[in-house]
Amino acid sequence: MKKLSIVLSVLLILICSILLLGAGEKEKVESYKIGGVFAITGPASWLGEPERNTCVMIADMVNENGGINGVPIEMVIEDSVGDETKAVNAVKKLINSDNVLGIVGTSRSGTTMAVIPIVEKAQIPLISCAAAEAIISPTKKWVFKTPQSDRHAAQRICMHMQESGITKIAVMSGTTAFGAQGREQVQKLAPDYGITIVADETYGPQDTDMTAQLTKIRATEAQALINWSIVPAQVIVAKNMVQLGMDLPLYLSHGFGNIKYVEAAGGAAEGIMFPAGRLLVADMVPASHPQKEVLTRYKGLYEERFNEPVSTFGGHAWDAMWLFVEALDEAGADRAGIRDALVKIKGFAGTGGVFNFSEEDHYGLTPEAFEMLVVKDGAFTILEK
């Protein structure tokens, strides 16, 4: 009996010391692991690649400056190929086997919607780089996003149409999550600005010819056309309009924010109007603007390191990463603490706008985050009001 109690107490001490050791280790983490899930390859790779590059760049920058309170960041990056199933698998891997503290991504609205239930269940903060309103509305406890909302993009377009005296419009959209969300927002907002939708057409993301839809629109009374989709479809729409000799003002979504599309469309892109974050026109933003400094800094750093023009989408990852860095600085290696720190961030000047988060608002931007741009002489210019 005595022997047994000695053995037991020795065992107990052993277990306790192991537990204590473990706890001690938890205090001093070797690195802050942040996961990144981006569509690095596949049809949406033009989103994922700049996002991945940006995350890697920021992790290097932070680590070169001694990390966050002396702890380096470790990026674990997965490729979602823009596919829902693969994104879900990647997020599960990051949570279960890499044990990350937070996740940046995913690149597309559809993939983000697919992974939300998983991060909510695992209680891990996710900052999405996708634009759809549905991501943060209704508010989910663990989900944030940095890109400007479709709603605000649609609002900016409607505001501009109202100013130009346009009352009847046609809407075209791709049958992707991005296109469908945009279409819904335009339908919802148009009446508030005295605008009626007289034609509503869709097309598949890989379609090569939209003249049929455009011919139908030409026969209506539409005074302007909003096209909500992602490349290459929007380039084809612009080219088809030239072919049909249609001179309707063409508004595109904020998905047009890459100068390469203008090059691909050739002369057909001239005069296209679209809402976009200020990053695309960083040089033209007045010096007094709160975003001026971060815009020129990111643009300079990215273009120097990767030798390619900066894109809005990389900017979303820039904002998401620095938000995590700020939250990690505050909370350390504690998922719930990071989330609480994120909610408290106010007046954070990012590439997408000035973020003011709160318990209810996990998006933190206003329509002011958008500037209306126009394609002029093959370049983006701020549209004069």
Binding site: Y203, T208, T211, A219, A264
Partner: protein, 297 residues
């Protein structure tokens, strides 16, 4: 705008799309005839044609008149090498193995193109300018006429080849019955090689011609292959005339349903018609019964 002009515009759009499908379908048919397999890398041949032409013209600044044919011929070489290294070495090929090989090849070509040229969409300048041609109020791009013209040339050249040359007749014999062709002294292996080359050449040419309209990116091939395959099945696998007619019918259906019904249902309409055809005429609308019996024999 009156309905007549609209209808004409839908017809022109439909013919343009349909010609593209038809060219891909012809490529499917050539290989199907020679080997009895579906070459799922057919769409990738089209993509490679477009990509190579873009590379030669936009990067190396070779004039379009030279870059186009060069690109098509290079794709033909790719097709020949593909046959020699992937299809030919198999001792006892089963149809399933061969089809899986073509799927693997399509993934390889796609990945290779992404690795070499990146993930952006590229465009070639139109061959004869971008000024639309006005036709009774409807418009068509000169490039669409190029697509249609190329389809006609390819189709007539193929028909002539099969009808009037001894090699063409030998290929046709292989398609009717491989074993019988071997027995009468036709070198079947060579005919298969020839078919792959020809099919790749046509795919590559199609790629060069359609790029000014549709743009090209490394992942363009899969969907073209799917539509082209549907077209080939619609017209009857192996039937060249069926491929052309099938392509035009599917193109017109898509365009009419987008214009007259709703653009959301455009693919559905084409697919429902395809299903109906398969229910009532499983061999395709232009299938001839005896041909199938001969093949099965």
């Amino acid at each position: 705008m009156q309905l007549g002009v609209q209808l004409l515009q839908y017809t022109l759009s439909g013919i343009t799309i349909g010609s593209i499908y038809a060219m891909v379908a012809i490529g499917f048919n050539i290989i199907y005839n020679a080997t009895g397999i579906i070459n799922f890398a057919q769409g990738e041949f089209v993509m490679l044609g477009g990509m190579l032409a873009v590379y030669l013209h936009n990067t190396l600044h070779i004039p379009l008149g030279l870059a186009g044919p060069c690109a098509a011929l290079t794709v033909m070489c790719v097709g020949l090498l593909f046959e020699r290294f992937a299809i030919y070495p198999l001792k006892t090929p089963s149809v399933i193995t061969l089809i899986i090989i073509t799927i693997a090849a399509s993934i390889l070509f796609k990945g290779g193109a992404m690795f070499i040229w990146g993930k952006d969409s590229f465009i070639l300048p139109s061959f004869s300018g971008d000024t639309p041609i006005n036709l009774l109020g409807a418009t068509i791009l000169p490039q669409s006429l190029w697509v249609l013209g190329t389809l006609i040339v390819i189709f007539s050249a193929l028909m002539g080849f099969y009808k009037f040359t001894i090699v063409g007749k030998a290929v046709k014999a292989c398609s009717y019955n491989r074993r019988a062709a071997k027995i009468v002294g036709i070198n079947v292996d060579r005919m298969v090689l020839l078919s792959f080359g020809l099919s790749a050449l046509i795919g590559g040419t199609a790629g060069v011609i359609v790029t000014p309209i549709t743009l090209v990116s490394y992942d363009r091939g899969s969907l073209l292959a799917l539509k082209g395959f549907g077209t080939a099945v619609f017209g009857g696998l192996g039937n060249m005339g069926g491929a052309v007619a099938g392509g035009l019918i599917i193109g017109l259906l898509e365009s009419y349903s987008a214009g007259l019904l709703s653009s959301g249902y455009k693919d559905a309409v084409a697919l429902v018609i395809l299903l109906l055809v398969l229910f009532f005429r499983p061999g395709g609308i232009f299938a001839r019964r005896e041909e199938h019996l001969l093949k099965a024999y």
